[in-house]
């Protein structure tokens, strides 16, 4: 009997011999999970899940149908109009085809699933016939988010004719910068709401004047900084507001591009000639005039390369980063700006620098903002907000490993995290916070330049886990504000911050001295 019992016991023991290993595993797992949980709760006090970006409010678009006009239907203009829900047949065909060939290409899907903004494109003005016709084509294309277009657009040869159409409620200004101030001013005076591309104006004086006219007329004005809609920037703002970076004395913003396209050496359209381009109107507000010819064609299609039409890196790229940091940290206009640079790589007749560095001083905030740009290196530096306790790296190589994410890493000499660093709860080698939206979704962002924009959050953002084009959200914000009588996110007040800061830096480069902002006189001294 007892032998039988022994046999059974031995049998049982052999059968269950490895169960303790399983138990050991569970104990270790539990310990690890507890450690992780303690680490997590010690790191960024539940910030991670709590505050998600504002949901996209639906329904506002239903209230009132709006008629819009576009002035300047070029590369950017056509993107803005897509944000409003109108794309050319050529674009929708190509995008649909791309999606077919590359399953990771979500551009078409993103476009087709964007909200119908309840508006019509009824006026198009462009000085180049080919683009004006493309704009008309976009207004008719039935392949769009929502129902087929209610009405098709009329072409206007001059923007004043478009503004004279009483049926148009609002205009998008996507011309080169040297036209922004005049068109936006006339539009405001005509009672049209304005969405104006960045940089706000070509000159400082124009920016001040435009700000005042928008205030006087009370129109709804939106500056084209779609970063205002990017979820990552809102998260970053929360983190900095909570003081998790400690005192921030230095912010570093960077632009790196390394392609002719990135340096604005764009193709001269084969159909561009004296008959298809209204060159005289184009150069009317620019300081230097040129007869139509080879030089004029270059200047028409590559206008960003000359101070006659824009401000180069300043208005084109610094403006994005400056506005983003202004959004995150509420900086306002700096007290001083200085900048240096030169034309070191693209010696192609341009007069704007291709390597350019600017510093902005905020003595009242104990802060320096440093901007550094090169058009001959693609090294992804990203933007860094450096605090006494932690550094936030946005975009670039270590931007959370994903598109427009950011990471926060504790500083080894941090006061706030001292104890936790000593205890090993926080390690400076690993981020204490990682924000990588859409990490479970995969995008096929292909070219280096689109990756540059994507890293800065300018191409895509996420709302409730769904990929949306921030340009669409920015247009929607503007149209909703028109309907609801509220202020859009990049209204004329914050637009002025960006414009003045950029003009200070541009003037510093041109004048070779430090520029000071006098807030009382609203002047540069």
């Amino acid at each position: 009997m007892s032998e039988n019992n022994n046999m059974e016991r031995r049998e049982l023991l052999k059968g269950l011999a490895t169960v303790p290993v399983f138990g050991l595993f569970l104990v270790n797992l539990w310990q690890k999970m507890r450690r992780d949980a303690i680490k997590k709760s010690n790191i960024l006090s539940n910030l991670v899940q709590e505050n998600s970006a504002p949901a996209v409010i639906k329904g506002l678009s239903d209230s009132r149908h709006l008629n819009i006009g576009i002035i300047g239907y070029g590369g950017r203009g056509s993107h803005l109009i897509r944000g409003a829900g109108f794309a050319t047949k050529g674009w929708t065909d190509t995008a649909a085809n791309n999606a077919k060939n590359n399953k990771l290409d979500k551009q078409f899907e993103t476009y087709m699933t964007q909200e119908d903004l309840n508006c019509s494109l009824i006026g198009v003005c462009d000085l180049f016939d080919v683009r004006a016709n493309q704009g008309l084509d976009a207004s008719k294309n039935k392949i769009r988010p929502g129902e087929k277009p209610r009405s098709t657009a009329t072409r206007y040869l001059h923007y004043t004719e478009l503004l004279a159409n009483d049926e148009i409620d609002a205009v998008i200004v996507a011309t080169p910068d040297h036209w922004h101030a005049r068109i936006a001013t006339d539009a405001a005076k005509a009672g049209k709401h304005v969405y104006c591309e960045k940089g706000l104006t070509r000159t400082f004086d124009e920016a001040i004047a435009l700000h005042d006219i928008v205030k006087e007329t009370g129109i709804t004005f939106q500056l084209g900084h779609q970063n205002r809609q990017v979820e990552a920037n809102e998260k970053a703002k929360q983190i900095i507001r909570q003081g998790l970076l400690g005192k921030v004395n230095l912010v570093e913003l960077a632009t790196n591009r390394n392609s002719p396209w990135g340096a604005w050496v764009w193709n001269i359209h084969p159909k561009g000639n004296v008959k298809t381009i209204d060159w005289d109107t184009f150069q009317e507000p620019s300081p230097n005039k040129f007869p139509f010819g080879e030089e004029a064609l270059k200047r028409f299609f590559r206008w960003r390369c000359w101070f006659d039409y824009g401000t180069g890196l300043s208005g084109d790229l610094l403006s994005h980063d400056f506005d983003a940091i202004n959004q995150i940290m509420d900086l306002g206009i700096p007290k001083y700006a200085s900048s240096t640079g030169g034309i070191y790589f693209y010696k192609d007749g341009r007069d704007v620098p291709d390597v350019w560095n600017a510093t902005f001083e905020y003595p009242d905030k104990d802060l320096t903002v440093l901007y550094s740009a090169t058009l001959s290196s693609n090294e992804p530096r990203g933007n860094r907000i450096m605090g006494h306790d932690a550094t936030m790296q946005m975009g670039g190589q270590s931007g959370g490993g994903s598109i427009h994410g950011f990471i926060v890493t504790a500083d080894s000499e941090s006061t706030q995290y001292k104890e936790r660093l000593e205890k090993g709860i926080i390690n400076t080698k690993y981020p204490i916070y990682t924000y990588s939206p859409g990490s479970k979704q995969i995008d096929g962002v292909t070219s280096a330049t689109s990756r540059y924009f994507a890293n800065k959050g300018l191409l895509y953002t996420y709302r409730e886990g769904k990929r949306v084009d921030p340009t669409h959200l920015h247009i929607k914000d503007w149209l909703d504000s028109i309907r609801g009588g509220s202020q859009p996110k990049c209204n004329i007040d914050v637009a002025l911050h960006e414009a003045v800061a950029c003009h200070m830096a541009t003037e510093s480069y041109l004048q070779g001295r430090r520029i000071e902002w006098d807030p009382k006189k609203r002047a540069l001294v």
């Binding site: 059968g15 269950l16 490895t18 595993f25 399953k103 990771l104 990490s439 479970k440």
Partner: protein, 165 residues
């Protein structure tokens, strides 16, 4: 060691100990690989699949581009690894779990084999040419399939029909 009529092996001590140890260690590895994915809400098989090279790379792309397929892939990986791990440790259905586990690691091998000329963006944790740890683990699981031990040390013992040693 010899085959008894029911197909179960009898081993001498060191053979048995070695095989059981191998089974438990591989089980532990699988179990933690599975559980660590289960408890990480951000884990996805997408990153691995996206970096796939060789014959399965287009299949990998198809999976990644389709949220449903990716969801299935994530689910199968998380739970598959966990179950294979647990059953290997416990010695439950251990022949089948060795076979399924072999299938898993063989697929990982084939989705990203360390062949000459294939460059991966994810940094490797070792140096491999043709042979890597996935391939070795697959082979080890084959051994565990061929020389089962669950019926001797493990829960399979309670299901074994014949008299084990």
């Amino acid at each position: 060691m010899k085959n008894n009529p029911s197909g179960n092996y009898k081993y001498v001590g060191s053979q048995l100990n070695g095989l059981v140890l191998l089974r438990v260690l591989i089980g532990w590895h699988f179990l933690y690989e599975g559980v660590s994915k289960l408890i990480n809400p951000y884990w996805s098989s997408a990153a691995y699949l996206l970096d796939s090279k060789w014959i399965f790379s287009s299949l990998a792309k198809t999976i990644v581009s389709n949220p449903t397929l990716l969801g299935i892939s994530d689910f199968v990986n998380m739970w598959g690894l966990t179950l294979v791990g647990a059953t290997l440790i416990l010695g439950l259905f251990s022949r089948y779990s060795a076979l399924v586990g072999m299938g898993f690691v063989l697929l990982y091998y084939l989705f990203a084999p360390p062949f000459l000329g294939l460059e991966y963006s994810r940094p490797g944790e070792g140096s491999y040419i043709i042979v890597n740890k996935n391939l070795i683990e697959a082979c080890a699981l084959w051994v565990l399939y061929a020389f089962p031990t669950g019926h001797v040390i493990g829960l399979d013992r309670f299901f074994a029909k014949s008299e084990p040693n």
